[in-house]
């Protein structure tokens, strides 16, 4: 097993069927483990789901994964972003 590499996948948009299914299907096929999932309806009405994933075992590069999840987002008419966890640690923790 390679070193853990943790990224957040963020889905923003309207809640609908199949979001988790389509993303997790892709993650399973590309050997990416889901460590945590959370979701909320924000004050401004947006549905937001975050997935903490470990891409350490995957053969896909970060760029390939980002492109793939963005495409899934387009198909579902939601915005999906992939970001390394460090940016959140830096911005939100002292």
């Amino acid at each position: 097993m390679k070193e853990r590499q943790l990224l957040f996948i963020t889905v923003i948009g309207e809640d609908k069927k199949g979001i988790v299914a389509k993303i997790s299907d892709y993650l399973f096929k590309t050997d990416i483990n889901i460590e945590d999932i959370n979701q909320r309806i924000m004050g401004d009405g947006y549905f937001v789901m975050t997935m903490l994933v470990d891409i350490g075992d995957s053969k896909e590069s970060m760029g390939e994964i980002a492109t793939a999840v963005e495409k899934i987002g387009k198909d579902l008419s939601v915005r999906i972003q992939l970001q390394h966890e460090n940016i959140f640690k830096m911005m939100h923790r002292i």
Binding site: T10, I12, R40, V48, T50, A66, Q83, H84, I87, M91
Partner: protein
């Protein structure tokens, strides 16, 4: 460590909706060791140094854009002030040839702007400095990517009026030689110029720097505006507090990207410049932040206080977030690159006099504003001298980027296109100070410089 959905959503919204980005990653490159008495060999060394490093910068920056999902808008290079390395070749044609070499190297590296074609002349001018200034109209109009600066004053040295007196004529010539006077947009004249500024057009690699250094400029007027709009009823202390917190977060993103990029390039990390820098994109405007405070239009009475509050809060938030804050670090208020500033000028809320007042509390100065092309060169010099006097006396950086547009009058609009936007042509004071400027010489350093 758990990151909450709310925190992730806040970051994602900043990037996706509020234009948060890393505005610039600028590698400073020392060129002093490229100096060669053989001019062709010298040019070749300069080209190779810039182009090979520039390509690495672009590649590594793109990797980090993917990793953190944050756009790195500009990848740029600053170099040792060119007048310094050209001392053995102080001939007009050779300055133009060197500019072409640097321009070509930047293009080969995929770099859109390269800064440092300038001189440090706060106390006096060498032959090389004079030849460089003389060559600037050809350099600024004949090259695409080369940016130029002059530092003509400092807190320690005073203000070199003899150097300022050369600039009016130089800018008018540059304006005539380039389409829509665009060459002038690539030139800034400074006092107290920081040697690690990552922002163009005034970036250069200072003589006190090492061989390489990576400097980062963050941005985010849209992010600050969003948070101000959510807090309409808080008092000034509260407003300062929420801006500080927001700027802390965006500066941390810059610090992270800067450190990782420097490590990937195997060069020292220099500074994070925490300036709020606007762009022409909708919502990415510093003027709109001021207006969100409750000012009807930027330029209205009260705007100077608003800019002062914003500037101070930005600095305090940034200082907590990074161990090495540097460069200009404050708030830019360019006219042509900020939709709110353009609107303020066009509606009559903001004129040159109030803009000068705002620069006394902002981080830089009179930036990217157009004036009629038929103004006297002495008037341009006087506008510059006034602005830089503010910097010398108050021990702060001030700069001027002025564009005299041939054939245009006050009230006309000039389109620069791309990053540079469009600018309403602003009226200048019609009375002359030519006799005052003719005196020349140097404004002595202020008494507050005697600190030893």
């Amino acid at each position: 460590m758990t990151i909450t959905v709310e925190e992730i959503y806040e970051t994602a919204s900043m990037i996706l909706d509020q234009h948060l980005d890393i505005r610039t990653t600028t590698v400073g490159i020392n060129l002093k060791d490229c100096i060669d008495s053989d001019f062709e060999a010298f040019r070749k060394k300069v080209h190779n140094r810039i182009s090979s490093f520039g390509r690495r910068l672009v590649t590594e920056a793109e990797k980090l854009e993917i990793k953190y999902g944050i756009p790195i808008v500009n990848k740029r290079i600053s170099i040792t002030p060119v007048s310094l390395i050209m001392e053995p070749h102080a001939i007009h044609e050779r300055f133009v040839e060197m500019a072409e070499t640097i321009d070509m190297a930047a293009r080969d590296a995929g770099i859109d702007f390269i800064g440092g074609f300038g001189a440090l002349v706060e106390k006096g001018m060498t032959m090389s400095d004079r030849v460089l200034i003389d060559a600037l109209p050809d350099v600024l109009s004949g090259t695409e990517r080369v940016c130029s600066f002059l530092n003509v004053g400092s807190f320690r040295a005073g203000l070199n009026l003899d150097a300022i007196n050369l600039i009016g004529k130089m800018l008018l010539e540059t304006a005539k030689k380039s389409k829509n006077a665009i060459g002038c947009a690539k030139f800034v004249v400074f006092t107290n110029a920081p040697q690690d500024n990552p922002f163009m057009a005034g970036a250069f690699h200072g003589v006190g720097e090492g061989d390489f250094t990576l400097n980062i400029g963050i941005s985010g007027p849209g992010v600050v505006r969003a948070v101000v709009e959510k807090n309409r009823d808080c008092d000034l202390t509260g407003l300062s507090e929420i801006i500080k917190r927001t700027v802390f977060k965006i500066t941390r993103a810059g610090e992270l990207v800067g450190r990782e990029l420097a490590a990937a390039l195997e060069i020292p990390f220099g500074i994070v410049d925490i300036s709020l820098a606007s762009t022409t994109a909708a919502g990415d405007s510093v003027a709109r932040v001021i207006e969100a405070f409750g000012i009807e239009k930027t330029g209205a009475h009260g705007s100077t206080l608003a800019v002062a509050l914003l500037m101070d809060a930005v600095k305090k938030g940034g200082a907590m977030a990074s161990g090495n804050v540097g460069g200009l670090s404050g708030t830019f208020i360019p006219v042509s690159e900020d939709a709110g500033m353009i609107e303020a000028v066009m509606s009559g809320a903001l004129g040159l006099d109030k803009l000068e007042a705002l620069t006394a509390v902002c981080s830089v100065g009179l930036d990217m504003f157009a004036i009629p092309g038929d103004v006297a060169p002495e008037t341009i010099c006087a506008i510059i001298a006034d602005e830089l006097a503010i910097g010398v006396i108050n021990n702060k950086t001030t700069g001027v980027r002025v564009i005299p547009v041939p054939g245009k009058q006050a009230g006309d609009i000039v389109e620069f296109g791309g990053l540079l936007g469009s600018a309403p042509v602003m009226a200048v004071n019609p009375f002359s100070s030519a006799d005052f400027l003719k005196r020349g010489g140097r404004l002595p350093a202020p008494v507050t410089s005697m600190r030893n």
